[in-house]
C-alpha cells in the first residue's frame, strides 16, 4: 500500500537528517549552560581598565558568590581562552573573599545581603552579574531575566561606568532595558 511507503519515506528522511546534521546546538539548552555562554560573551564585549590584564595570557577570573546553581557545567562550557586569556573559575562564600575577580556572578540566595555586597564592591572593576530581582536597578551591572522561556538581560550602564568598565554598544543594543531610566540612556 502506498500509505505506509510515504510514511516510511518521511521517517527515513527524518532519521537521515538527524544522523548527518551537525548543528550549533539544539534550539534549547539547560538554563545554566545558557547563562555560562552569556558570561563568556559578556567577557567578549566588556572592556576592563587598562592594565587589568598585564600579560597577553593573564587569566580572566569568573567568581560565583553564594549558592552555585551552575555546578560543573560552568567549567565545562567555558573551556577555551578568549583572545589568549584563559578563564579561571572560583567559588566564594563571602564577598570579602571575592577579590581579584573580573566577573562576579552573585547567587539569588544573596538577595538579603545585596546592598552590603554592592557597597563593598563599589569602585572595583568587577562585572557583577545576577538573577536577583531589581539587581540592575539597585546598582548591579547585568541582570538576567527570563522572557517566554528565553534569556534576556538588563544593564546598568551608569554603574558600569563608575566601575571603570566600558560595555560595548553591541552588548548594550541587545539589552532589554538599560538603567538609569532616562531617554538618553536608550
Amino acid at each position: 500500500m502506498l500509505k505506509p511507503i510515504a510514511s516510511l519515506m518521511l521517517l527515513l528522511a527524518t532519521l537521515a537528517g538527524g544522523i548527518t546534521a551537525r548543528a550549533q546546538g539544539s534550539d534549547s539548552l539547560p538554563e545554566y549552560q545558557l547563562k555560562a555562554l552569556f558570561l563568556y560573551n559578556f567577557a567578549k564585549f566588556v572592556d576592563w581598565p587598562a592594565g587589568t590584564f598585564p600579560e597577553t595570557n593573564s587569566p580572566i577570573i569568573i567568581g560565583v558568590l553564594g549558592k552555585d546553581r551552575f555546578g560543573p557545567i560552568l567549567d565545562k562550557t567555558i573551556n577555551q581562552p578568549l583572545n589568549g586569556h584563559p578563564f579561571v573559575i572560583r567559588r566564594f562564600a563571602t564577598v570579602a573573599e571575592a577579590d581579584g575577580c573580573h566577573i562576579l556572578f552573585i547567587s539569588d540566595q544573596e538577595t538579603r545581603r545585596l546592598d552590603e555586597i554592592l557597597r563593598s564592591l563599589k569602585g572595583r572593576s568587577i562585572l557583577t552579574v545576577s538573577e536577583i530581582e531589581n539587581f540592575a536597578r539597585q546598582g548591579g551591572l547585568i541582570q538576567f531575566i527570563t522572557v517566554d522561556d528565553k534569556i534576556r538581560f538588563l544593564i546598568n550602564n551608569n554603574a558600569a561606568r563608575s566601575s571603570g568598565l566600558r560595555i560595548s554598544s553591541q552588548l548594550l543594543n541587545l539589552a532589554v532595558k538599560i538603567y538609569p531610566d532616562t531617554p538618553a540612556a536608550k
Binding site: A16, R22, A23, D27, L34, L37, F38
Partner: protein, 673 residues
C-alpha cells in the same frame, strides 16, 4: 475509479515527500563539511533565540501516571488549539470529529460528550456541568501564553474531586512576568484560513506585571466522506488579561480574565413533529457561543514548607444554537493549605464551594425540566504525604500518600473519594509506584433533567433524564515505573485495572421522574445499570539521540469489557466498548538543524473503532520552523499529512454531520520585541 485517483494522489505525495527529503539531505551533507563547531562560537544574538530546556526530573517523585507537555513542545508541534496540543500527551485518546468538535478522554469512554475527565485552565474548571464534559470548540487561549499542560491519567479524585475519574488535565498559562514585551503572530493555510494574535506585557512597577492579549482564528470546513465540503467552518475571537502582584516576600496576587465570541457552522438533526414520516429536519445552523471569566488568586507563603492559596472565580457561558440554548453562571471559591507536620508529614487540606446556575431555552428536540436550575457543591479534602523511609542522603525512598475528598452535591448528597498511593525509589533515578483509589462521576444536569428527541430509522426516540440517577463509581488499581536509564534515555510506564459500577445505561420505558413530552415518541431513560472493567498499559520514552535530535515514542494498550446489570434492557451502551482503540502508537521527532531551523514530526497510529465504523489510521504532522533572529520566526506546518482525508470519530446522541479530517497545511510568522 476513486481508488485509482487515490493511488495517483499517493504517488504524487510520495514523490513530493522524497524530493523534499532529498533536498534536506543535500543541505545537511554540505554543512557536514564544516568543522564541528562548539557552543562558544554562538553569537549573543544566537543565544537569545535559544529556549531554556525544561528538565522533566520533578515527575520522578509523583506516584501517578503524569505527563507534562511544555509550551516549547506545543510551539514545536504547530498545534493551534488545545485538543491538538493534547495529542502530544501519551495515553490520551484525542479524536477530531469535524472542524470544531473533538472527543477527548483517557483510559476509555471517549465520546464527544466524554464525561470522565476533569479539565481545568489555571485552576478554573472548564468542563460544563451540563453533561460533565467539555465544549472543546470554545476552549483555548493564546497558544504562546501556555506554559505547560499537566495531565494525570487515573483518578485524581483525592485532590480534585468528582469528575476526575479517568484523569485530570490542567492547562497552565505563563505568569505576566514571563510574557513581557510585544508578540505578534499571524498565519493562514488550507484548514486554518487565517489566524492572528497579539500580546503585550508590561509592568506597572517592580512588583506588578501585566499582559493583554487578543487572538482570532478562522477555520475552513472539513470534508464529508464523499469528498465534498462539510458545513462546519467557524471563526472565533478571544481576548484577556492577567495581572500578577508580588506584594513582598510572603504574599502574591493574581488577577486574570478572558472573553470569547464565536460563530460556528453545523448541521443538526432536529426532531420536527410537523414532518412525517421521519419527523426529522436537518437544519444548517450558525451557532454562537460566548463566554467570559474573571479569576483572582492569593498565595501566602508562611515558610519554605507551608503555603496557603485562596482562589475565587466567576465564569459565564452562553450558547445559542438552533438545537440548544443555554446561559450559565458559575461562581467558585477554593481554599488550600499545605504544611509540613513534623519531620515526615506533608499535609494538604482544603475546602471549596461552587454554585452554578443555568437557564435553558427549550425546543422540541431538547427540553430541560425544570428549564432553570441552581446547583450547589460543597467540598473538603485532606491528604497526607508520609515519608516512611529516607536514605542516608536524606532523600525519600518510600512515600505513602493517602487522603480523601468529601463532597456534598445537590444530585446525590455526600460522596467520599479516598485514595492511597505508595512510592518506592529502589535506586537513584528509578521509581516504582502503586495506588488504589475510589472516584465518582456525579450526575450532570442532562442526566437528571433532559428530554432529548432524535430521529431514528424506526421513528423518533426520546431519551429522558432521571432525577434518581446515581453517581458512576470507579475503583482503580494502578502501577507505574519511571526510570532514567541513561543520561540520554528515560522511560515511563503505567498499568491500570479499573472496575466501574453504576455506569449510565439507557433503558426502555418512560423516566420515573421526568414527565413525558407532548409528542408520541418512543421513550428511553437514563439509569445506572451498566458495569464493567477496563485495563491497559501506557508506555512512553524519551531518547536524546544527540544534542540536536530528540525522539519520543509512546504506546498505549487498552481493553474494555462492559456488562449490563440485572434488569437492564440496554444493548446500545455495550457498543461503547468498540469506541476505544485497542492500540495507539505515536512517535515524536524533534530536530534542530543548522541556521536555527527546527524540524518536528509527529507520527500517530490509532487502532480502529469497530462500534462506529472508523478504521485504523496513520497520520503525521510536520513543522518546519526558522528562528531567523531574536525577533522573527517563521514556520510551515503540515497536519494530517498521510492520507488525503480520514475519519477519527463519529457523533453520538446529537446528530451532527459525519465528517472526515482532511490533509492541511498552514504558514505562520511571529514577531517578538
Amino acid at each position: 475509479m476513486e481508488a485509482d485517483s487515490r493511488g495517483r494522489q499517493w504517488t504524487r505525495t510520495a514523490a513530493r515527500i522524497s524530493r523534499i527529503s532529498l533536498l534536506l539531505l543535500a543541505w545537511f551533507t554540505t554543512s557536514v563539511t564544516r568543522a564541528d563547531t562548539n557552543l562558544l562560537t554562538l553569537s549573543l544574538s544566537d543565544l537569545m533565540t535559544k529556549s531554556i530546556m525544561r528538565v522533566s526530573e520533578p515527575l520522578s517523585s509523583v506516584p501517578a501516571a503524569v505527563a507534562v507537555v511544555t509550551g516549547n513542545d506545543i510551539h514545536r508541534s504547530g498545534a493551534r488549539t488545545i485538543p491538538e496540543a493534547l495529542r502530544l500527551v501519551p495515553g490520551l485518546n484525542v479524536a477530531q470529529l469535524d472542524a470544531a468538535q473533538w472527543a477527548v478522554s483517557a483510559r476509555g469512554f471517549n465520546d464527544v460528550f466524554a464525561n470522565k475527565l476533569l479539565v481545568m485552565q489555571d485552576g478554573r474548571s472548564i468542563y460544563t456541568p451540563l453533561f460533565s464534559g467539555v465544549f472543546w470548540d470554545v476552549q483555548g487561549t493564546m497558544m504562546e501564553d501556555i506554559d505547560r499542560i499537566e495531565v494525570v491519567r487515573g483518578p485524581g479524585a483525592t485532590l480534585w474531586g468528582a469528575n476526575a475519574v479517568n484523569g485530570v488535565i490542567n492547562i497552565i498559562t505563563k505568569s505576566a512576568k514571563e510574557t513581557q514585551g510585544t508578540l505578534l503572530t499571524a498565519g493562514g493555510g488550507t484548514q486554518y484560513r487565517g489566524f492572528a494574535g497579539a500580546r503585550y506585557g508590561g509592568q506597572l512597577n517592580e512588583n506588578t506585571h501585566y499582559r493583554f492579549y487578543a487572538a482570532y482564528a478562522n477555520h475552513n470546513d472539513a470534508v464529508l466522506p464523499n469528498g465534498n465540503e462539510a458545513f462546519d467552518s467557524w471563526h472565533l475571537a478571544r481576548g484577556g488579561f492577567r495581572v500578577d502582584w508580588d506584594a513582598g516576600d510572603q504574599n502574591s496576587f493574581t488577577f486574570q480574565g478572558d472573553g470569547y465570541a464565536g460563530w460556528f457552522h453545523q448541521i443538526y438533526g432536529l426532531f420536527n413533529p410537523a414532518n412525517p414520516p421521519t419527523f426529522s429536519s436537518f437544519v444548517r445552523d450558525e451557532y454562537e457561543p460566548r463566554g467570559g471569566n474573571v479569576l483572582g488568586r492569593w498565595t501566602r507563603v508562611f515558610s519554605a514548607s507551608s503555603e496557603l492559596k485562596l482562589q475565587v472565580y466567576y465564569d459565564r457561558t452562553e450558547r445559542e444554537a438552533v438545537i440548544f440554548r443555554e446561559e450559565r453562571d458559575t461562581v467558585d471559591l477554593d481554599l488550600q493549605h499545605q504544611f509540613a507536620l513534623g519531620e515526615r508529614n506533608n499535609v494538604v487540606w482544603g475546602f471549596g464551594y461552587r454554585v452554578t446556575s443555568d437557564r435553558e431555552a427549550n425546543n422540541p428536540t431538547i427540553t430541560f425540566t425544570p428549564d432553570n436550575r441552581t446547583v450547589h457543591l460543597f467540598s473538603a479534602f485532606v491528604q497526607d504525604e508520609l515519608t516512611m523511609l529516607r536514605n542516608d542522603a536524606g532523600e525519600n525512598v518510600v512515600n505513602l500518600t493517602f487522603g480523601s475528598k468529601f463532597e456534598h452535591n445537590d444530585y446525590t448528597g455526600i460522596e467520599i473519594q479516598p485514595g492511597a498511593r505508595l512510592l518506592w525509589a529502589p535506586r537513584q533515578r528509578h521509581t516504582l509506584w502503586a495506588s488504589i483509589s475510589r472516584a465518582v462521576r456525579t450526575p450532570s444536569r442532562a442526566e437528571d433533567d433532559i428530554a432529548l428527541t432524535q430521529p431514528t430509522p424506526g421513528g423518533p426516540v426520546t431519551i429522558y433524564g432521571n432525577r434518581r440517577f446515581e453517581s458512576e463509581e470507579l475503583t482503580a488499581y494502578e502501577l507505574g515505573y519511571r526510570a532514567r536509564l541513561h543520561e540520554t534515555f528515560s522511560v515511563d510506564a503505567a498499568a491500570f485495572y479499573n472496575v466501574y459500577d453504576n455506569l449510565r445505561s439507557i433503558e426502555f420505558g418512560p423516566s420515573p421522574t421526568q414527565p413525558p413530552g407532548p409528542f408520541p415518541t418512543f421513550p428511553l431513560h437514563a439509569e445506572n445499570r451498566l458495569r464493567g472493567e477496563t485495563y491497559g498499559a501506557e508506555f512512553s520514552a524519551e531518547w536524546r539521540v544527540n544534542d540536536r535530535w530528540r525522539l519520543r515514542p509512546a504506546y498505549t494498550f487498552f481493553e474494555m469489557q462492559l456488562r449490563a446489570g440485572p434488569g437492564s434492557t440496554d444493548t446500545m451502551s455495550l457498543q461503547d466498548e468498540g469506541k476505544n482503540p485497542q492500540h495507539q502508537f505515536s512517535l515524536r521527532s524533534s530536530m534542530t538543524l543548522p541556521h536555527n531551523i527546527d524540524f518536528d514530526c509527529t507520527f500517530r497510529y490509532v487502532d480502529n473503532l469497530s462500534a462506529i465504523n472508523v478504521s485504523s489510521y496513520v497520520t503525521a504532522d510536520v513543522r518546519l520552523g526558522w528562528r531567523i533572529n531574536r525577533h522573527w520566526e517563521i514556520a510551515v506546518v503540515g497536519q494530517n499529512l498521510v492520507e488525503n482525508r480520514h475519519a477519527e470519530f463519529r457523533p453520538s446522541f446529537i446528530t451532527t454531520q459525519t465528517a472526515d479530517i482532511p490533509r492541511s497545511v498552514y504558514g505562520q510568522v511571529t514577531c517578538r520585541f
